[in-house]
Symmetry: C2
Subunit: 199 residues, 2 copies
């Protein structure tokens, strides 16, 4: 009842995050019934991106050039370096339009159980970059998870002999969050990390 080509397409869709068999089926039928042109454009975009997107030679973010747009920009502050886990984090921070420094993208976090060590995160490259560019401050903006904390800690240890201010993004109650619904760990952290009140 489902032709081999349709079966194959449905199966291929399930490689996407958050897409189970039911959604995959819906996607396949939708494109076949209503938007074959869109389906072909998606195929083109996939091939172009899968083959053309590499990593920036300075910061490891995704780019199709030797250097990404941010590393290549004259407008960015070279003295401020923000270390994040993934390109999506760069995008999220850039969307706030509140950061004018540069980035280093780990493409993951330390995870001994998965065999992900310092070399997989390009930490030797980060060390060289800090030695050469000598930023004044490095913001450790890894995730506020056990692995993210461990990774930030490892980097801080690695750079302890460099003359650079290390900072960590604040964790606490999200803006608009209600204390009642925040988990205990976050609350504790947010209490101990309290700041002088400013109007």
């Amino acid at each position: 009842m489902q032709s081999p080509l349709i079966k194959k397409l449905i199966e291929a869709f399930t490689c996407l995050p958050g897409v189970g068999n039911k959604s995959a089926q819906r996607m396949a039928y939708f494109l076949l019934e209503r938007n074959r042109e869109g389906g072909e454009q998606l195929a083109d975009a996939l091939v172009a991106a899968m083959r053309g997107v590499k990593h920036c030679s300075r910061c490891r973010d995704f780019t199709e050039d030797e250097l990404c747009g941010i590393c290549n920009s004259q407008a960015r502050d070279n003295s401020l370096l923000c270390v994040v886990e993934s390109p999506a984090d760069v995008f999220a921070i850039e969307s706030t339009a509140s950061f004018k420094g540069k980035y280093f993208v780990l493409m993951g976090h330390l995870s001994p159980l998965d065999g992900i060590g310092p070399e997989d995160l390009g930490l030797d490259q980060l060390k060289r970059l800090v030695d050469e560019e000598k930023p004044a401050e490095i913001i450790l903006a890894t995730n506020s998870t056990v692995e993210g904390e461990a990774t930030a800690h490892f980097i801080a240890e690695m750079l302890k002999n460099n003359e650079v201010v290390l900072s960590r993004i604040a964790s606490g109650v999200p803006l608009g969050g209600e204390l009642e619904y925040i988990d205990g760990g976050t609350l504790m952290h947010s209490l101990s990390g309290r700041q002088p009140y400013r109007n």
Copy 2:
């Protein structure tokens, strides 16, 4: 910060049903970071399906051959014809393994506002098919929506001079519900509990 190739891929993903900008971004980054091979396979499957999947010349269901597997099967009961709106409905009914007849797929429903009339649903082809094959019973299994009911009504009118029992799938499908999303048990119940069609 997002290279042109990534921007284009994210935009292309939003052509999928239920995929907004945020999910599209997640899909793009996921494939780039963790499954480029899967991304290329998806592209191949898309091109193959968009170009290779046609409509069965008898029932209009999707197929890559002249006749779909069901129309081509000797095991199916030619005297029982089930009329549905979409290929996903055929798949849903087949999944219950409780129907041994054949299908006719409208690829939509009557919708004057969208300019979808009888000719777009292949109703002339359905009429010819009924004239030639002379099924004993036709199950009108269009969706239990206003448009689905109107389409069933239209088909019943069209076939009123044919010697055939018309039936409508039974209640069990919730009002306003679409076959594609109904669980197998309910579908089976609604098939076996079908009632003679009444205007």
